[in-house]
Each structure stands twice: as C-alpha cells, then as structure tokens.
C-alpha cells in the first residue's frame, strides 16, 4: 500500500555478497568512465592512467550528479556538474568554486572494491565481500551481449551441449564441442535485464573469437526466441 521510492542505494550489502562481473577488461580503456548496473544499483566504473579500475556509486556527493558523466584526468575523476575532483581513493581533492580550499577528507564518493580476472572486471557491492575471484590462466575478452530478461547461468547453458565447471556464483568455465574454452559470466541488472560476458582461453585463434561470439548470439536468439543479428 505505502510505496517508498528508494532512490539512494544505502546499504546494498544484503543484496549481493559475491563479486559480480561488470564487463570485459577491454571495455574500459585507460581514461574512460562507463555506467553499469548491478541489480538496481547504478555504478560508475572508470580506469585511471595507472591502469586500475574503480567502481563508485553513480552519484556525486555534492549535488547528486551521475559520476559516469564525469571525465578522467590522470588518476582522478571530475564530476561534470561543478568540477569536483576525486582521487582514486574516492576522496575529494578539488572544489573549483573555492580554489583555495583544501576539501575536508570527509567529502568522498561511495567506493566499491574491484578486481580483474578471467578477462573480466568484477565489482563487489557488499561491505564485507567474499575473497576476490581468481580465474587461472590467460583469457582474451570476446563478447558482451545484452539479454532482455534476467536468467540463471543454468538456464543460459541448458541443452547447449556444453560441459561446464562453476567458477563463482555468476560465472562458469565452459568447454564447447570444438574444445574452445570460455568463461561465461552473467551480470544481473534488475529491470534492465542482464549482460552475458564471455572471454576465451588466450591460446585459441582469432577465428575462435568470431566463432564463440556467433555461438553466444545464436544462444540468445534461441532463449529470447528471436532471429540472430
């Protein structure tokens, strides 16, 4: 009966305890910032010149502007609205309206831990996350595909003829009939559906990238009952 608009994700720790894949490692080059959803949570993800990936709540502490509209300079992110500039640790270093002021350290963004493994970027929303995943071997980013509906990994792989070993709650290592090895990972995005990210074992050839990408599209077409691209 009472409806509460929950605009601000205050404490997502009860929602997701595991690490969630948010994209392929090459999706975010140095100096880039993108927007990603994990369930209903809106996240700004960016990579500094130092190569490290940061994930922040997509809301500037000043006046709430989405930080994914900001720009990266060096290892800092600047908000588009008033130019407040935050270091990689989320702490505000510069308020251009008051150039002589050293901002108090209490002004900072809400940061989430990140890691990169298996050709993927991972984010943990929980304040006490599980240990970061480690996927052994070298992996080449292959394809990210949007699905309208959120489904489980089991449903994604059902009747596909693949043999798979679970890696995390959101990822499996799958071996196709042609022996190509792939990491298949799902990113749940609530009402926005989901992303499926796929990387393949680095020793496989260029042809395997195209072939696996096509396989994934065919898979989606079958699940969503549409014609592949």
């Amino acid at each position: 009966m009472n409806h509460t608009t929950k605009n601000i994700p205050t404490d997502p720790k009860n929602c997701l305890t595991d690490w969630v894949p948010v994209g392929l490692t090459n999706h975010i080059p140095r100096g880039a910032v993108v927007r990603a959803y994990i369930d209903q949570f809106d996240i700004a993800i960016w990579r500094g010149e130092d190569g490290f990936v940061r994930a922040w709540e997509n809301r500037c502490p000043h006046r709430g502007m989405r930080l994914s509209y900001g720009f990266v300079q060096g290892n800092r992110l600047t908000c588009l609205y008033h130019g407040w500039t935050f270091g990689g640790d989320g702490i505000c270093h510069l308020i251009p309206a008051h150039p002589d002021l050293t901002p108090p350290e209490t002004i900072h963004t809400h940061i989430y831990p990140t890691c990169e493994t298996g050709g993927l970027i991972w984010v943990a929303l929980a304040s006490m996350p599980a240990p970061a995943p480690v996927i052994k071997g070298a992996w080449t980013p292959c394809r990210s595909l949007h699905f309208v509906q959120q489904i489980t990994l089991a449903a994604l792989l059902a009747d596909s003829g693949l043999s798979s070993t679970p890696l995390t709650e959101y990822a499996v290592c799958a071996t196709r009939k042609n022996q190509t090895q792939a990491v298949l990972a799902i990113q749940p995005m609530g009402k926005h559906g989901m992303m499926v990210h796929c990387s393949i074992a680095s020793c496989d050839h260029e042809a395997a990238l195209h072939d696996t990408s096509r396989w994934l599209m065919t898979r989606r077409a079958k699940i969503e009952d549409t014609v592949p691209e």
Binding site: Y69, P96, A97
Partner: protein
C-alpha cells in the same frame, strides 16, 4: 489514513505547493479552437480556447481560475490561490520580452530552480559561454529573506563570463541578483551588457507535471537592441539544453531537503536558503521528504 489519499491525489500535495499559480504556456501555444490536455501537480487539466476566450478545467470538470501575465497563461488548482508575485520590471519601459516556450525535463521542478540559482556550474556545463574553467571561483555573495514578501534574494553575485549574453563581445565580470518568489519560479537579474546600470531579466516559470517531470517555460526581458528575438531565443535554448543533461541525471530525481543527504559549500548559499525556505513552508511535493511520507 483512509483510501481517500489514493482517490484524491491533491491530498498528497502540501498546501504551500497547492496554493500557487502556475504558468501553462504562452497564449500563442493555444491557438483558437484548440482543446488540449496537460498536467499540473499530477492532475489532468483541460485547456480550451474559443476565439479569444480561454477556459481551464481541472479534476471533475471543475473550472479553474485563469490569468494572463508576464507573457504566459497561469492557473491554480486552488480556489483561493495566493496572489501571483509581482515583477515590476514588466511595467517599466525599454525592455523587450522574448518567451522561449516550454521544454519538458524529466526532473523535479525544484531541482530545475536550484540549478538556475547556481553559478558554480557555469564553467563546467556552459563551458566557454557562461564560464571558463580557469575562472571557476564563486566569490562570496549575500543571501537574504524578504520576510514580508516571503521570498529569497541572492545579491552581490559576480562571475567571470567569456560570453555573458548574446550581446557581449568580450569576457567580463558579470553581476547578478537572483530572486525566488515562488517554489517553481525564479528570476535572474543580470548586469546588462549594453548599459551597466541596468538589469536584464531572465526567468523560469516551471509547470510541475509530476513529481519527477516538469515543463520549463522561460523568458528574457532585456534591453538588447542588437540581437533579434531569434538570436536571443537560440542563446537561451542552447544554455538550457546543456542544463537538461544535468537535470535528468541527478540522483535522486527529487530534491533532498535533509541537509545531510548532499554536501553543500559556501557557493551553494542560495540553494541552502532555498531548501530551508521550502522546508519551512512545509513543501513535500517533488522532494525526497514527500517520497518518505507518501
């Protein structure tokens, strides 16, 4: 609580918001013979114009009051609205009125007022037009309440602008005053590029459609003789489209009135005063407070 709050959404509108007049557009937006529907504070309202006579109907076909002022048509859901604020400059000679027409924005109208009051964003959002990043400083300005009129004034505002108005040729320190006489209306008084002793006016009359959607009607009342209406209109439209990107990407979409929810600095003195004034007047509509109470 009974179900009446659901059947009569006006019950959810705080009395201060409910009691005001709101602009719906310019008379020319409603051509003769037209009958169209719009929204005001989450209510459907109908606007008819037969020959020169306009009529506005609200919920359950109730006739709503109407007045024509400041180049716009105004109405109110209330049967006894508070008087519409006075803008004496409209009666003074020498200025020219240019109305821009409504622009729909998916945000709280209160966020749009606050954005209009804000100088600190000029270098970043209106880069090389209303500000440059090398001169981003917001010098101290005064904010005061006009208790008698129950409105906010920000005075002694100044900011470095490379192109302050369509009529300016070089960068300059521009002087401003801001006036908030109404929760959804705001007027900027800007030192005039053709006559430094005079003020040009730019203002917003916001029509709140829903709590997170509004139609922004804006005007210019200026001394500028060098630019055509179209040039002034384009200047203003261009600026506003830059603001729209911001307004549609602020989280939450509704204005937070709790000071702990966001982090103001001294440059935000006018916004702080505005939020306090809304809170003191019991405004919940289009604020995060409203979302908690609903």
């Amino acid at each position: 609580m009974t179900r009446t709050t659901i059947d009569q959404p006006e019950m959810r509108i705080d009395p201060f918001t409910y009691a005001h007049w709101y602009a719906l557009g310019r008379k020319e937006d409603f051509p003769e013979g037209c009958a169209l529907n719009t929204r005001l504070l989450s209510h459907s309202i109908g606007i008819r114009r037969d020959t020169d006579i306009m009529s506005i109907t609200g919920p359950q076909g109730r006739a709503l009051p109407i007045q024509h002022r400041y180049g716009h048509v105004w109405t109110s859901l209330s049967d006894s609205p508070r008087p519409l604020f006075d803008i004496p400059e409209f009666a003074e000679p020498g200025r020219r009125l240019v109305t821009v027409g409504g622009v729909r924005v998916r945000c709280s109208g209160l966020r749009a007022v606050e954005n209009f009051l804000d100088m600190a964003h000029f270098p970043f959002v209106h880069t090389d037009i209303l500000g440059v990043t090398e001169h981003a400083e917001v010098k101290k300005y005064d904010v005061k309440m006009d208790v008698e009129k129950d409105e906010i004034w920000a005075t002694q505002c100044q900011f470095f602008q490379p192109v302050a108005a369509a009529a300016s040729v070089a960068g300059d320190m521009v002087h401003y005053q801001y006036r908030v006489p109404h929760p959804h209306s705001v007027i900027l008084y800007k030192s005039c590029p053709v006559d430094p002793d005079a003020w040009d006016l730019i203002g917003l009359f916001i029509q709140p459609l829903e709590e997170e959607e509004c139609l922004v009607h804006s005007f210019l009342l200026v001394f500028d003789d060098n630019n055509t209406d179209t040039a002034l209109l384009h200047f203003q439209q261009n600026i506003f489209l830059q603001d729209r990107v911001i307004l549609e990407n602020q989280v939450p979409a509704r204005l937070p009135l709790d000071p702990r929810q966001e982090t103001p600095t001294r440059a935000d003195a006018s916004s702080i005063a505005y939020r306090r004034w809304l809170k003191r007047n019991g405004v919940t509509w289009s604020t995060t407070r409203g979302a908690e109470i609903a």
